[in-house]
Assembly symmetry: C2
Amino acid sequence: MIKKLYDAIENKNAPIVVGLDPNLKFVPESIKEKAYKEKGETLEGAAKAIWKFNKKLIDNIYDLIPAVKPQSAMYEQYGLPGLKAYKKTIDYCHEKGLIVIGDIKRGDIGSTSEAYAAGHIGKVAVGSSSYMPFNEDMATVNPYLGSDGVLPFIKVCKENDRGIFVLVKTSNPSSGEFQDRIIDGKPLYEHVAGKVEEWGSDNLEGNYSNVGAVVGATYPEQGETLRKLMPHTFILVPGYGAQGATGKDLAGFFDDNKNGAIVNSSRGIIAAHTKEPYKDRYGEDAFADAARAAVLDMIKDINGSIGR
Amino acid sequence: MIKKLYDAIENKNAPIVVGLDPNLKFVPESIKEKAYKEKGETLEGAAKAIWKFNKKLIDNIYDLIPAVKPQSAMYEQYGLPGLKAYKKTIDYCHEKGLIVIGDIKRGDIGSTSEAYAAGHIGKVAVGSSSYMPFNEDMATVNPYLGSDGVLPFIKVCKENDRGIFVLVKTSNPSSGEFQDRIIDGKPLYEHVAGKVEEWGSDNLEGNYSNVGAVVGATYPEQGETLRKLMPHTFILVPGYGAQGATGKDLAGFFDDNKNGAIVNSSRGIIAAHTKEPYKDRYGEDAFADAARAAVLDMIKDINGSIGR
């Protein structure tokens, strides 16, 4: 799977992923009105609105980008109808040839991680049949429970040619509270990074393994260190745009071929129509055009900064 | 909410919670056959089988216990139909007067944790209406992202009289890999424990706060230390039964009133019919009777061990 992601970045010349984290706050009124008229001001109505919003976005940007990263929380908050929209979004992105990274941040004891892995990036058996319930290509995983919470995901990756990104150093302001604490002379996130390299060591496809890492763009120095500490680990980089990071922060996350990392922007793209410089140029109903402009600007910013 | 849990334990004289983690492997053939006949060997068929299994279990044990802990992974692995069974299980447990602890182990950056909290233990707005999508009473939360991943859950707890249990020291074999690492002279899990007390300090209901902790029964010494370090923190204790811990390991998790902790057993109860001493006494179709006997034995074991 990681080779597929690497190649898709080359083909599109765009080491970026768009976070599909829809929020009713920035779904245009016209879409909401239509959805509520049909389904009422219900969870079904909300789910219909975010699906219609996603579809229009995807249709307008899929040719520019290698991958999308839907955030499960944004769908789960609308209950079962929301999760139906999550699944529909995944399937539609596959139709458009996009790699789907499910930002699910799951992680549990062994037998439970097995179930999450099966449901999201693997298969479940029912009698003599088997199904791929959510069918993401890759998923994010929380390492707090240690190896036996992560290894079941890796097993499923091997069986189904999938990949994961383990949280190493997250992009949020308080990520240092535990992740930066010093253990035997180095921060916890470097210990997690060491494990990620180890977990990936027999999952290589070319230089990179199917066990990637999440490292926040908001911590560029740590990103540079982690790039060196994890030479076989592909890095998923959240925190660009709305969370504050820009292209100049990102060179250190990439390898010598200007690949090996993929930068995510969510609100910076899908809510571009609510913020300058796009707000003035595009009306609310042109949100998908604003998103396309924001994607093009992001590619230019990042490729410029990393010398791609 | 924590007062409600404390009182329910007193009323039932049972500091135990049953983990509703159904797996098709131990759902009786007769239930599966009927479900597959109706819905086929499909995700819908699997979901129907686990719902029927859960319902019969709940009907047979609800009078003995204060709470249940459905594990979201076991439902999520069957996709949308599985999650429909999760929701149905929660609603049915509420009908039976049980407190529902959603074992979801979510945790993300602030804005995303807000969405998880709203979806599971809070409300979401759609137009001028609002909904409680999953409607668990309490939920488990992963602390790896630090305060800003946890505080949105606590805000929602306050607004809706709900509670959370933050992972401090988990029950699995590799939990020590990161959680036991020494930082400034004490293990990471004690640092997390300190934060849990702090987060709970303005969420008290009597002696305990609505911010609880998960501490594995498989680590009794750590449990005893953590009980002292977190005097206002209610402890959810997984790892009893199938994971290896027994009543004698548990005294240190409780307070002087023999409350302040609740011990979970999942497979030890709901799959009792597959294991001795229940397997011989109860046939597969008497799984709910086997579960009732296992609940009674567990209550006796724990109450005996803690001197309740």
